[in-house]
Symmetry: C2
Subunit: 337 residues, 2 copies
């Protein structure tokens, strides 16, 4: 492990000079700076992040909270994609990504906030968690720079996809395709669910369409068995819908499965609509019609804004950022009449 001291010795200058030269301070002569840098490179020097962090109170490390609701932390396609994009932008800006957790062996476990302070994260990104968990709220309310994904808190930056226009646009598309009897199996209660559901009701009213009570059902996100059952129920109705909206793309597979079991075909017998636009939706047959959220942009914007907030806490206004998506016209919605 080679240190500032070694470079100083090799160059015949003091450690302070080396440090300043490497950090680009302007009270070092241009030629000595270059000489020092050259030597440092040759010796394969890199700083010790711990020492640097200790002195500067900056770790260039961002904590990511990605809780394991039902073990689907990283395997949650939507969030994994967002996170991946977040990570790439953060890394390009020189930040590393570390997961926040509350384990931490030494008997008494740390809270998310304590863990974040312990590691000295410069900022924190929260996604895919129970936002009502007091431990999460503590973290959000702390003084740390924070950005949340798919959920908004007052006075904090959040990046949310445009669920309202998403549902609006999808419904309009389906309407254009001639559908009038539209059912919606929505996800379990959450801010996201509320927005979509609200938009569903409003848009249906706007289109002058009736919504029989039996057309509104509920199922967990990313579950296929439950949406499968819901689908059967809908099919058995006296007047079944011609099109069914599912909580998300993955759970729409439950619809495919139910229909196939009844020897019905998508979309000829019934049309299916998802939400998310995960990779899968474009690879199943027939391709799923869905609202494609711009996960890449969500992750990127989240990282960009968070870093801005870290670097210039005063200049950035903390408010929700809406990321628009677009209707993906797959093959799962039939034109009827």
């Amino acid at each position: 492990m080679i240190l500032l001291k070694d470079i100083a010795a090799a160059c015949g200058v003091s450690v302070a000079t080396v440090s300043k030269a490497l950090n680009g301070h302007n009270d070092i002569g241009p030629e000595t700076r270059e000489r020092i840098r050259k030597v440092a490179d040759n010796m394969g020097y890199f700083p010790n992040s711990a020492a640097k962090a200790l002195k500067t109170n900056r770790t260039f490390n961002i904590g990511v909270l990605f809780a394991d609701e039902a073990r689907s932390g990283l395997t949650h396609d939507f969030f994994a994609t967002v996170l991946d994009s977040f990570r790439r932008t953060a890394e390009a800006a020189g930040f590393d990504i570390t997961f926040i957790n509350s384990s931490h062996a030494q008997e008494r476990s740390l809270s998310y906030l304590a863990h974040s302070r312990y590691r000295g994260f410069d900022g924190v990104c929260i996604a895919c968690v129970d936002f009502y968990d007091p431990d999460v709220v503590d973290l959000v309310r702390s003084e740390l720079p924070i950005v949340t994904i798919d959920h908004s808190f007052d006075g904090k930056i959040s990046v949310v996809s445009d669920n309202v226009s998403g549902m609006h646009d999808l419904l309009h598309y389906v309407y254009e395709m001639g559908h009038r009897r539209i059912a919606y199996i929505h996800g379990l209660p959450s801010a996201v669910t509320q927005n979509r559901l609200m938009s569903f009701y409003r848009t249906m009213a706007e289109l002058g369409l009736a919504i029989p009570d039996e057309y509104i059902m509920e199922a967990p996100y990313r579950s296929t068995s439950e949406t499968r059952d819901c689908t059967f129920t809908l099919l058995d109705l006296p007047t079944p819908p011609t099109c069914i909206f599912y909580p998300d793309d993955f759970s729409a597979l439950g619809g495919y499965s139910a229909l196939q079991q009844r020897k019905l075909s998508v979309p000829d017998d019934i049309s299916i609509v998802g939400f998310d636009g995960i990779r899968l939706s474009r690879h199943i047959a027939p391709r799923l019609t869905t609202y494609r959220q711009d996960m890449e942009q969500m992750g990127r914007v989240a990282a960009e804004r968070l870093i801005e907030l870290i670097e210039h806490p005063k200049d950035v206004i903390q408010e929700p950022i809406l990321v628009p998506g677009s209707v993906y016209q797959g093959e799962s919605v039939a034109r009827i009449q």
Copy 2:
């Protein structure tokens, strides 16, 4: 931010004593230790990881290299699941997980190894990368405790799933179901591919089955369009196979899609076999017959062994660990004759 110093003042002892009490050294009186611990808890103390790391050369941080081949880093279902399990075990043992990357803003980018040293990782886990990348090889050959996943290096711990018996068992199952004309679309060259392919040839020979050259094809992992094309080619053969093996579960979707386009049914007209056992395979219709790798165990074992290696470098023999899986009998293979 509350420090050792503050606790020391509050307790009327020295910082040294507080440090030792909190770390459980045995040269501190039991009653003072308890007193100090209580006060520390009340004041909400937690250590400063940077200072601790600086002194002890231990970060309790594990680096994970998960490269972005084709942007599918975290969205790679198989590796995401393994990583998630790895992460849970590591965190339970008090280790944090940080991604290794080679960006690092300050103009000249760090190598993976340099980055790992910069952050002072106690150990490193490598998965889902090009193992022939010289930068990766550098990292592997370093003095750091390392575990690799799905690829073995001499003298290093690696956790690999049992591709050989996986292919063997799958073939036997399909044989039992009456299939004799079996095609294999294998993945692009890699250690994993080689093992599976080798096992395929050997087991077919063992079963006394012929393998027409046209039955062996190649397609990238996790691609559906290419496997779709391959499927068409196979179907158009004078004597098409009755069963097709795909590189992995996801790419098997290409098979489903091709068959549906030809108005053929799975498995009545043709049988389909995947490899991996990702979540998806159990949720599509008909359910995919595949070899289910025990990703949870792979991640857990990788973490356990790595931590062992970190804690007791001398006691652990570094060698590959084979994790067995099991044939998952879905609905995509028909019994024939």
